[in-house]
């Protein structure tokens, strides 16, 4: 591994990162060649372009990743019922992402415990930016899974990533097929088959892990996969109507509290967080259109896992989403959108003024020619009520990096993203992406606070990010 990282720039960017990417989590994942190995199907069966699923890919996922065209090691009970069905070769695969990231203006440097000291060097090469190992496919006759472990360049560690293990079966209901199942997963919407919801958002499924990211994000965007574990049940009737109910419990990795986002550091989920989802997807010819709603109610304990009594910060996220796909032989067009409305009752963090709101909106479209050449365009925004959470914190003389904060106590961030892609082969993507921020942490400017308490104003557009990456899956 070779890594060139300009330490201060990355550290400063990371300060704003947390789990709050407006566009995406740092280690986004994709479906994988494991499935191709197991099913014998080309990538295009399940994907338009990674990671966007086709209608067939959605059914494959909801049916438990079970389609299998490999020789099996089998076992049966004395009454001839299937007791074991193992692939003779485990469906494993690898994902590798290498990248170059550059912001429009270099991040300001700070001295440890002191003030600002000029600009840091801009431009970060990450090789790899992320490296993932997958087991993805059938586990038992009616049980399959997508299990991902990812190496993160920024932490220099392997960590648990997207996981969805499910039982699935089918029945007929009034002459129409009914798929039903149970999912065990580690983040809300990881189990979702549409690419309009946060975990598998598309387009812009991949953004730079060192891109400066705003402070605020909703729970649906931020409840990452090292924080919770969910057990849920779902049904898909007549390949048309989908409904799901999942309960999430806290499952923080390690003993300390993990930050849910940088506005609520060290917080962990308290109790059970119910997640719900409904969606309808009519399909006709080469087109499909889905629309639906989803949401979660959760409570956070600001002090982390060691705090077991209130008060708690309460969140109620309600969201709507839609997706359109046209999948032709030569031309593929798709569009996704979602709107998340979050009602916050911050009894722990902001007891004097607990009722707050946060809203996230995303819309994007993409076009590909013969799955080889294409591009995407998207708009994103997170807006909400202004409050002290987003103001600059009390200076920390021991800090080694500047803290981003809002000059007007507003969480507002908005911007656009553009990406051009070339896929010489179905499992290799080369892309150039540019993200434009029109607002960042409140307005067109925001504050950076050095460890000694000194502050400087930075333009939102200074964080505009050029990201060039290569993605391989094999």
């Amino acid at each position: 591994m070779f890594v060139t990282t300009f330490r201060k720039a990355v550290a400063l960017a990371a300060a704003g990162a947390g789990l709050v990417a407006l566009l995406l989590s740092a280690t986004s994942a994709h479906a994988v060649p494991s499935f191709a190995r197991q099913t014998g199907l080309a990538c295009e069966a399940c994907h338009t372009v990674f990671p966007e699923l086709t209608p067939f890919g959605r059914k494959f996922k909801l049916n438990g990743y079970l389609i299998d065209n490999l020789p099996q090691v089998k076992g049966v009970t004395p009454d001839n019922k299937e007791a074991l069905a193992l692939n003779w070769m485990p469906p494993l695969s690898v994902q590798f992402i290498g990248s170059y990231t550059r912001t429009k203006t270099a991040q300001p440097d700070v001295t440890t415990g002191g003030g600002f000291s000029g600009d840091s060097q801009d431009g970060t090469v990450q090789f790899p930016e992320a490296f993932s190992l997958f087991y993805a496919g059938r586990i038992a006759p009616k049980v399959g899974g997508f299990i991902q472990v990812t190496y993160d360049n920024q932490d220099n560690t392997f960590g648990w990533d997207n996981t969805d293990i499910r039982f699935a079966d089918q029945a007929m209901l009034k002459d129409n097929p009914l798929t039903y199942g149970v999912t065990f997963n580690n983040a809300p919407t990881v189990q979702d088959p549409w690419n309009s919801t946060p975990a598998w958002r598309y387009p812009f499924s991949q953004t730079s892990s060192v891109m400066p990211t705003p402070i605020a994000s909703t729970q649906l965007d931020g409840l990452g996969n090292d924080k919770v574990a969910g057990l849920g049940a779902y049904v898909l009737w007549n390949n048309l109507v989908y409904a799901e109910l999942t309960a999430y419990a806290p499952a923080p990795h390690g003993l300390g509290g993990n930050p849910l986002n940088s506005a609520f550091p060290d917080a962990t989920v308290h109790g059970i967080a119910p997640y719900w989802r409904i969606a309808v997807e009519p399909q006709w010819g080469q087109q499909s259109f889905s629309f639906g709603a989803y949401g979660i109610n959760d409570q956070l304990v600001p002090g982390g896992v060691n705090v077991t009594v209130g008060p708690y910060d309460k969140f109620r996220d309600t969201a709507i989403d839609a997706q359109y796909q046209f999948i032709g032989d030569d031309h593929i067009f798709s569009a996704q959108t979602t709107y998340i409305w979050e009602k916050q009752t911050l009894n722990a963090t902001l007891p004097a003024d607990p009722s707050q709101t946060l809203k996230t909106f995303r819309i994007g479209g993409s076009y590909f020619y013969q799955r080889k050449l294409g591009g995407s365009l998207g708009y994103f925004s997170t807006t909400g009520s202004a409050n002290d959470i987003y103001a600059c914190p009390t200076p920390d003389p021991t800090a080694t990096q500047a803290a981003p904060c809002s000059a007007n106590n507003s969480p507002n961030s908005k911007g656009y993203a553009l990406e051009l892609d070339y896929l010489p082969w179905q499992n290799v993507k080369l892309a150039v992406q540019y993200v434009v921020f029109t607002q960042f942490n409140g307005q067109s400017t925001y504050l950076l606070q050095a460890p000694d308490g000194s502050q400087m104003t930075r333009n939102a557009s200074a964080n505009n990010t050029l990201y060039i990456f290569g993605w391989l899956a094999f």
Partner: protein, 204 residues
Amino acid sequence: MKVRVLGGAGLVLVLAFGPSSACFAEDQETKHLTAQVCATCHGTHGISTSPAFPNLAGQKAVYIETQLKGFKDHSRGDPGAMAFMWGMSSQLGDETIKQLAVHYAGLTPARGTPADKTLVAKGKQIYDEGIAEGGIPACAACHGPNADGNENIPRLAGQHAPYLVKQLAYFKSLQRGNAPVMHAVGEKMTLDQMEAVAAYVASK
């Protein structure tokens, strides 16, 4: 011994020998495949939503069997076959293939899809009479006056028009390699003629 006799071109006999566990397992596998695997693309009742995948309901059993074997031994290698059916057919045994073919042959075919009348009329003329000056024979000669096929010659009536056009193009480009007769026909057809004849049989 039970003998089920099914109609269609040539009588296809499926023999189920008593309570043999091997045959029971085959039956179970066929049920599982049609309900939970094939149905994903070809529809619960053999009628697909997307024209990327052909309707199978009412298709000739012998034809389905030939195609499945062609996928399995890769003698049919057009892009769609390669991406989907090579994998799907790779573990199918001969008996399962036969049962799948009989299953789909026994389902009620899709109803025709109306299309532009001028296009359909042009397609009907090509289908019924061929194009003498272009050396294109009448499709009806092999596929039957009602486009319902015959043994190893597929039923075309009610099939998705875009799927048929794509197959004709594959015959022309020789990408679909297990149909020498159709290579000779396809290479003489223009795209307009393909679209017309496809619209006509799809409307039936």
